[in-house]
Amino acid sequence: MDIKQTLAQLTQARGPSGGEGEAAKLVALLMQPLCQEVTIDAVGNVVGIKPGTGPEPRPKIMLMAHLDEIHLTVSAIDGAFLRFVENGYDPRILVGAQVIVLGREPLPGVIGDLPPHIMTEKERQRMPDLAEMVIDLGLEAEQVAELVRVGDQVVLDGPFDELLGHRVASKALDDRLLVATILATLDELQRVSHPCDVIAVASVQEEFSGLGATTASWARRPDAAIALDVTFARQPGVREAETFPLGSGPAIAMGPNLHPHITQTLLDMAERLEIPHEIDVQPARTGTDAWGIQVAAGGIPSGLVSIPIRNMHTPVEVVDVKDVARTARLLTAFLAQADHDFLDSLTYRLPDFQEAAP
C-alpha cells in the first residue's frame, strides 16, 4: 500500500461531522479488497470485517479511527455573503482561509479580511471575531440564494502537500491519518494469521458527539477495542509534557480510559519489535473515540494509540508518515496475538475465597 497516495486520497475527501458520506464511500472502496465484508451502517460508520483463523467463536477486536473532520456551519445568508458558526477551530486560522461550502454543489469560497491599508491601529492589533467574518463565494446574491441554505456545512480547503522527507501537510489528517493506518494494518493482515475477527471501523461524529463510537460498539459488541487518533507533536509554543516529537512513533496512551492490560501489551509489543514509541499519559477524558467505546455495550476493554501531528485542527496539519507503517506494524502484531487467552487476561478476577486474605 502506498501510504502517501492513500493519505492524499483520504484527506481530500470531504467529511464534516454528520456529513461523512463522501469520505465514507471512499473508505468503503479502499477497505473492500482487504475485508470479507464491508458495510456502511445506519449512522454512517464504515465497518469492515476480516475474520480470523481458527474455530468459532473467535475473539472480536475492533480498530476504530474517525471519519469526520471539523467544520463550519452556515448560520445566515447576508446578501452575497455567508455568516457562519464554528466548532473546533481556532478563529485566527479562519481569517484568509479557503473553504468549500457544501451547498447544492461544492462551492469554493474565501474568508477574507479587510486590507491593512484601511484598518485602524486598533483593528490591526486585534483579530476579528466570528461575528465580523463572512464567507465570500465570489457570486452574486441571487446565485448564493439559489445554491446555499442555512445549515449547509463548510470544510476548510487545501491541497495535500508533500514536504521534505516523509513529512506531509494536509487538512483532515485528524483522523484520516489513522483511517489510513487501519487500511495499512488490514493490508499487513493479508499476510499474517490472526486468531481474532477484526472489526475495522471508520466512525462518524467523533468531533461532535462521539455518536459513531458508541453506536458501532453497541452494534458489534467487540471483546476489546483500540481507538486510533492523532495527538500533539512538539512545535513552538507548546509544553513538552503534553507533546511528542514529530515522527517519534506511535504514542500509547495510559490512564483510566484505557484497560491497563491492553496498554501494557501494546507497550511490551513495541519494545519487543523495537518500534519507536512514546507513553501518552491521559489522566481522565482522552477526547477520543476510546471515551465512548469503553462504556458502550456493557463496557469494552479499550486501548488508545495515537500519532503525533503539528498544527492540529488547521488545514495544514503536519505528520511524518513513517509513523503510519510503524503503527500498523504494532497493531498487526497486537492482533496476531489476540486469542482467547489474551481476552482472558483482560478479565478482572475475584479473589480465591478459599485462600486466606494476605
Binding site: 479557503q98 474565501v110 491593512p116 491599508h117 490591526r124 483579530m127 522527507g165 513552538p236 515522527g247
Partner: protein, 357 residues
C-alpha cells in the same frame, strides 16, 4: 483577439515574486510580450521595459506601468528544529497568516505557517491577538536545522502558495481566451492583474504614438522600481495599472458597514488622490469623458487610501500619471477575489483613453 488566457493569468498569479525577487515573474512576462514589442530591456533595478512603436500619427510619448512584485517574507533564521523564522517585505496583513501555505526559495519548497492547536491554548485572550511576525515559523518538514539549511538559505523569500481558481458555475478551459466575465481567486492580484492588463495592451494593435510599457519592481516596499524608471523618462502621460483594495464587505453581523473603498463588479476604479499622489485633473477628466463616451462603467476609489507607482513616475519629472485599478478583495493576504468584468473594462478604458489622447 486577446492574448490572455486563464492559464497565463494562473501562472502570473501563482509564480513567486517578492520585492527584489521578481525574476520568475519577469521571465514569464518577457516571453509573452517579446513577439509583440519592438524593444525589450531590463534596467539596473530589474524593471522590464518594453517599447512599442506607434503608427507615427502622433509624436506623443505614453508610458504604461504595472508592478511585478508582491508582499512576501524573507527567511531571517533557520533554527535547530528546522523551522524557518521570517521578516516581512511589504505590508502583509498579519491577521491572515496562521495556518496558511507558503512556498520557499527558488525551488518553491512547500511549507506551512505553524499554529499551535487550540486545545493547547490556555488563555482565550490569545485568540484576540494577531500573531507577531517574530513569533511566526514556517515548517517545511525538515527533521532538524541541518536538513533545513541544506534546502533553504537565510535571505531567501517565501510567498503565499494559493492555487488560482475560476469561481462560479462554468469553468472555461485554461487555454481558451480569458473570459470576459466571472470571478477569480488567487494570490498576488495586486498587481499581477495590472501586469496582465499591460501585457494585453502591449500585445494589441500599435497606438498612434510610441508606448513604453514598464513592469516595475519593488512597488510594495516604496515604489522603488517606478522611481528609478520614472527618473529616466519624460512621457506626456502615464497610466498605472493596478489591483486595488476592495473592502465591500458587510460589517459586523447586525451592524452598519463602513463605506467601502471600491466595490467588486462596479467597474475599474479611478483614483482622484491616494496617500502619495494627486491625479492631475486634466488627465482624470480625459478618462472620465472617455468612459462616458464609450459607456464603460467606472468608480472612484475612496480618496487618500494606499499608494501606487504613480507617485514614483511623477516624482522627478512631474509626468502626469493616472491610476486605473481592478478592485480585488482581501489583497495583502494569502488570497484575493476579483471580477473579470472590472478587469476588462479597465483594459478597454485605458485603450480608449490612449486612442483619443
Amino acid at each position: 483577439m486577446s492574448i490572455l488566457t486563464l492559464d497565463l493569468l494562473k501562472r502570473l498569479s501563482e509564480t513567486p515574486g517578492g520585492p527584489g525577487d521578481e525574476a520568475a515573474v519577469r521571465d514569464i512576462i518577457a516571453r509573452v510580450v517579446h513577439p509583440h514589442v519592438d524593444e525589450l530591456s531590463i534596467d539596473s533595478m530589474g524593471n522590464l521595459i518594453a517599447r512599442k512603436r506607434g503608427t507615427g500619427a502622433s509624436s506623443k510619448q505614453v508610458a504604461l506601468a504595472a508592478h511585478m512584485d508582491e508582499v512576501a517574507f524573507m527567511i531571517t533564521k533557520i533554527d535547530n528544529d528546522g523551522l524557518l523564522h521570517v521578516a516581512a517585505s511589504g505590508g502583509i496583513n498579519r491577521r491572515t497568516l496562521l495556518g496558511k501555505r507558503v512556498q520557499v526559495g527558488p525551488e518553491r519548497l512547500p511549507g506551512v505557517i505553524s499554529v499551535r492547536p487550540p486545545h493547547l491554548v490556555d488563555d482565550p485572550e490569545e485568540y484576540r491577538k494577531p500573531p507577531k511576525l517574530q513569533d511566526l515559523v514556517i515548517d517545511i518538514g525538515a527533521k532538524n536545522g541541518d536538513e533545513a539549511k541544506s534546502k533553504v538559505k537565510r535571505g531567501q523569500y517565501a510567498v503565499f502558495r494559493t492555487p488560482f481558481r475560476f469561481l462560479g458555475p462554468d469553468e472555461p478551459s485554461g487555454d481558451a481566451a480569458l473570459p470576459r466575465s466571472g470571478r477569480i481567486s488567487g494570490k498576488a492580484f495586486d498587481d499581477r492583474l495590472g501586469c496582465a492588463a499591460l501585457i494585453e495592451l502591449l500585445a494589441g494593435e500599435p497606438f498612434p504614438f510610441d508606448v513604453t510599457g514598464v513592469f516595475t519592481v519593488q512597488e510594495e516596499i516604496g515604489l522603488r522600481g517606478a522611481l528609478a524608471a520614472g527618473s529616466r523618462m519624460t512621457p506626456d502621460a502615464v497610466f498605472i495599472l493596478e489591483g486595488t483594495l476592495c473592502p465591500d464587505l458587510p460589517g459586523r453581523w447586525g451592524q452598519e458597514t463602513t463605506p467601502p473603498t471600491t466595490r467588486l463588479g462596479h467597474g475599474p476604479a479611478l483614483t482622484t488622490a491616494d496617500r502619495s499622489h494627486i491625479t492631475p485633473p486634466r488627465l482624470l477628466q480625459h478618462l472620465l469623458r472617455t468612459a462616458q463616451a464609450r459607456d464603460i462603467p467606472y468608480q472612484f476609489k475612496h480618496p487618500n487610501v494606499g499608494g501606487t507607482d504613480a507617485a514614483g513616475f511623477a516624482r522627478y519629472t512631474g509626468a502626469p500619471a493616472a491610476i486605473i485599478s481592478t478592485p480585488a478583495r482581501y489583497i495583502h493576504s494569502p488570497i484575493a477575489i476579483a471580477d473579470l468584468t472590472d478587469f476588462w473594462h479597465g483594459v478597454e478604458l485605458v485603450r480608449a483613453a490612449m486612442e483619443t489622447l
